[in-house]
Amino acid sequence: MTEPKLSEDIKKVVEKWRNKKGSLVMILHEIQNAYGYVPRETSLELSKYLDVPLAQIYEVITFYNYFKLEKPGTHRIAVCMGTACYLKGAPVILQELKELLDVEEGHNTKDGLFALDVVRCLGCCGLAPVMMIDSKVYGKVKKEEIMNILSEYGKEE
């Protein structure tokens, strides 16, 4: 999984989709699931393997917010910016995270421990404001609690 190439595993996945119409988006999903992003080398190999121009692959990757071109930090923090969360103080939560981690949204912390993302509605409006670290959802987040929450994920610095 560490080699960002078109490994045998990925080839198997690609084979599954190969003869289906319009499968490029789904193949990219599989690749991102495996690596956490879509590495350039993988795209190059994929282009040869599927006989699809690299530009076409990149055109798709860059269009969709979900696909990433850079390796994300170990833990992904997703701050929900849905309307309910926005009204109930999500901007304050985001600001606090930015300050604590010294990072801008869409980027990784310097130590690579966290990636900070802003997302559209996690669908837990009843718990607003909400943030998610990896797959764990934190509801009714208060600014003062963030430091503690982050400390569950190892050292910050």
Partner: protein
């Protein structure tokens, strides 16, 4: 499983509809899980086994009352069917002891919205 046909469909349905017993349902959609439903579900399973209670513990979807998650609905013969909200470990155990065990409703956690939600059933 053999594939259903016109005839076997109704037969299958009659068979499964006949079974009715006591159950507890835990709302396990994204919002419920975010509020801690998984832990509640686990503790219910464990404790029911420990206490040797004959009750089925099931997962279900979202009842819509996000503000009161995690939600647990209890159906025990002889006690009104109710929904408990904001359930944590302790309340889950209390529900088993009191509601299931001694057939008494538990104070302070019932969200009685049965009347505000009319369902479309037969």
């Amino acid at each position: 499983m053999t594939k259903l046909t016109k005839a076997s469909f109704d037969q299958h349905k009659a068979e499964i509809q006949a079974t009715s017993k006591n159950w507890i349902k835990v709302g396990m959609s994204t919002c419920g899980i975010a509020a801690g439903a998984e832990e509640v579900y686990k503790i219910l399973l464990e404790e029911a086994k420990k206490k040797n209670l004959s009750i089925e513990i099931k997962k279900c979807g979202c009842l819509g009352m996000c503000y009161a998650e995690p939600l647990v609905e209890v159906h025990v013969e002889g006690v009104p069917q109710v929904i408990y909200g904001k359930v944590n470990k302790d309340i889950a155990i209390k529900i088993l002891e009191k509601h299931v065990g001694t057939k008494m409703l538990v104070n302070d956690y019932i969200f009685d919205l049965a009347l505000t939600m009319k369902e479309v059933r037969k």
